[in-house]
């Protein structure tokens, strides 16, 4: 096989390998991903056995700790439907009522169980929304 042919073969092999790997990657990402839902969406759409990323605000006076488990409710940012979550694992420092959180939950029976160590709380802002007075230009 002359060098040019060898090079073409190499290129084709390399490209095919890349395509195969990329396809595997892309395929698994869709099946391994957890959809992000708000509490109101979660109530309507959640199927038992699948995990979802619940995003919302922690409802005031809903945080109760019993031993290793932390129970709290998450509501839509704009208020409204709230979802009770039973969570075990690390609780980030910024966590408290009224803060925005993301937690991976799974519906088990009538309850939403938080995946261990999946709780993320919003870093109280570096980057806040600009107050109304500053929004004139934009």
């Amino acid at each position: 096989m002359n060098p040019a042919r060898k090079r073409t073969v190499r290129l084709v092999v390399a490209l095919s390998a890349a395509v195969v790997l990329a396809s595997a990657l892309i395929y698994t990402s869709f099946s391994a991903a957890s959809p992000a839902l708000t509490p109101s969406q979660l109530i309507h759409q959640a199927q038992p056995g699948r995990s979802y990323l619940l995003t919302g605000t922690v409802v005031t006076h809903s945080v109760v700790r019993s031993g290793e488990e932390l129970n709290f409710s998450v509501a839509d940012r704009a208020g409204g439907a709230a979802v009770p979550v039973a969570y075990t694992g690390t609780v980030p420092d910024p966590f408290r009522e009224g803060r925005e959180v993301i937690v991976t939950v799974e519906k088990r029976g009538g309850q939403y169980v938080g995946e261990r160590n999946s709780l993320i709380t919003k870093c109280p802002s570096k980057y806040k929304e600009a107050p109304a007075s500053e929004k004139q230009n934009s």
């Binding site: 869709f30 992000a36 995003t55 420092d93 993301i102 570096k126 600009a130 500053e134």
Partner: protein, 748 residues
Amino acid sequence: MAALGRACLLLALAVCVYGIGASIYGVRAGRPEFSESGRRSVYALAGILTVAFAVLEVAFLHNDFAFNTVADTSSRTTPTFYKAAAVWSSQEGSLLLWAWLLSLWSSLVLFLTRGRLREVAAYATAILLGFGGFFIALMVFYAQPFATTSPAPSEGVGLDPLLRFPTMMIHPPMLYSGYTLCTIPLAFGMGALLARRVDADWIRLTRRFAFAAWFFLGIGILLGARWSYSELGWGGYWGWDAVENASLMPWLTGTAFLHSLMIQEKRGMLKVWNVSLVLATGTLAIMGTFLVRSGVLNSIHAFGGATLGVPFVCLIGVLLAGSIYLVVSRRDMLRSEHRLDSLLSRESAFLANNLVLVALCFVIFWGTYFPLISQALTGKEASVGPPWFDRYTVPLALILVLLSGIGPAIAWRRATLANARRNFLAPLAAALMTLIVLLAVGVGEKPFAIGMFCCAAFVLGSISQEFFRGMRARGAMAGEAPPVALMALVRRNRRRYGGYVVHIGIAVLFVGVAASSSFQHASELGLSPGQSTRVGAYTVRYVRPTASVTPDYDSASTQGGRELSAVLRSEPGVTLAPDSARTGASLSLGAVLDVSKNGHHVTTLRPSEGYYDSGDPTQGSVGHFIGGQPVSHVALNAGVTRDVWSAIAPNIETPQLKRIIALGNKTLPFIRPGEGIVAIAVMAGAYIHNPPQAQFHFIVSPLVMWIWIGGLIVIGGAMIAIWPAPSAVRRRVAARSRARAAHGLVRA
């Protein structure tokens, strides 16, 4: 003074616009004086932004709360170091830091390249000023650092306690230096394509800037990981968070570029690839900056509420379209001069390394932007978590480490098969021995960790062999004793041997990563004082609670001070901590933990939780002292073989403690601020007397320290590689090479 700041920004914007015009006109019309004027615009920009930055710094240091950013992120009681650093803790301030650093680095680069690459530099100037102008326009129109409120508030909100750590304050300037430095090779790459000059001189200069970018970005990433591990309450150093990934991606393409550039230098190959890598690195850096500010992705740093999304998307769109156009339209001058001679060559190994790095970057890119991708493709937003990232990055990392051991042992152009077989014998033996030892010790259930250890052994074997053989060769040639030969060898071949040291550092770092992620013991413990429990081979006992109180800095007022002292005298368990100047927590509750293994005392840990003043009167005259953001102060016992780490989440919501706070709120008015802290001291005393059960997070991670050691080795190797040879040596070498080259011609 704010007016001066605003004027600076407007002037800066005007200078950017002028500079872009002058540079481009100068190059197209062949009027070098205009290009020169354009270059000076960059110097002028650096000067103007320095003044602007100084104005903002002074405002912070002088507690000028008329400035909105000062009022939002600083306060009278914030320690001075954090006041100075709070400048870049806000959106507006960090934009100013970014633009300022960009102008400084650009000025330095253009000063160093004055008189060379005239046309390329002119285009690069225009592009760099374009970036500068973009960020300044953002500050003028969207997020104004010099916006003021009148009348000025008397006190500011204060710096978020989560940011009150030295590492966290140095991390942004380091990272921004890395990001802004990435735009310089981008600008010179685009400039080279525009001027149609991608040659040896361009390679030489671009390599230096790309190296600087890689260096600072790497340090920024390491610092961020270190901060996350040693200060944050989750005990990890890498979480595949969007922001972490955003800084890693340009670093990966930068690494690829530094390697493949060597191939272009030697063989004139891979020109399209290299230019694409340079453009990709710069674009990824801009995307990284965008990710944090736009709220486009959910992560620790930004959620939902988009603020600067649209302008950034436009900029990235322009960069992508421009890059693709330039590469395609200049492809005739980017043809390779040679082809790959043989698969068994260092070029091949470098090419493989590039492919792995780009594959890693692609995986991370896909995973990071997946919420947007899935939204676009399926209409539903979904995210992938760390397990998905690990699944693909771990095998790729294994191959990468392996390649870093193969490359040094192979020759350029075409390696002899017999020689190659001989060169790999020792490293393979090292890897095999490691495998046998590990299996014998009984750690067989973690294949990837074992794989990584063996690959690291391979790398260490291969590189040690290189050093040894080089030292022996030099010793034979120059008749020097081994230590002298080694020094001379490294000094005369800095790039090569510095690079080898970097590879060692990377291998060590990955050993630390593999060990600490695969063999970690982590537990959540609920303990009351006196209780102990087992975690793996360790026993953890909650010895006793701790509490300390810090009065605010104003209440040196004698009345409050006397009452406080009286309370503290009667509560021997509560300490007064006037030296919390590091963080300024009003109250700190913690525990003393005794950790032992097999009956032997291992360490004593003192984790605590700091409670901060929220400054919010609605929480009550006493409640506000501890109503702010609580911050975990982790206890870490670092060791060569393992780290023992613990964080505490005390329970301050017991009925007794809540009653004390409520009582204080009712009876202590705001007009005597010094007294509020007394109630806190009483609460602390109650906590000590009747400590409720506390939640502990306890982790034992093997070999974590080697991650940081590996990082330091990488930095050391990088510095060896970049250290310039003294000019006398260079001249001698050049003269000798010239003579020998001529001699070679006669011989051939």
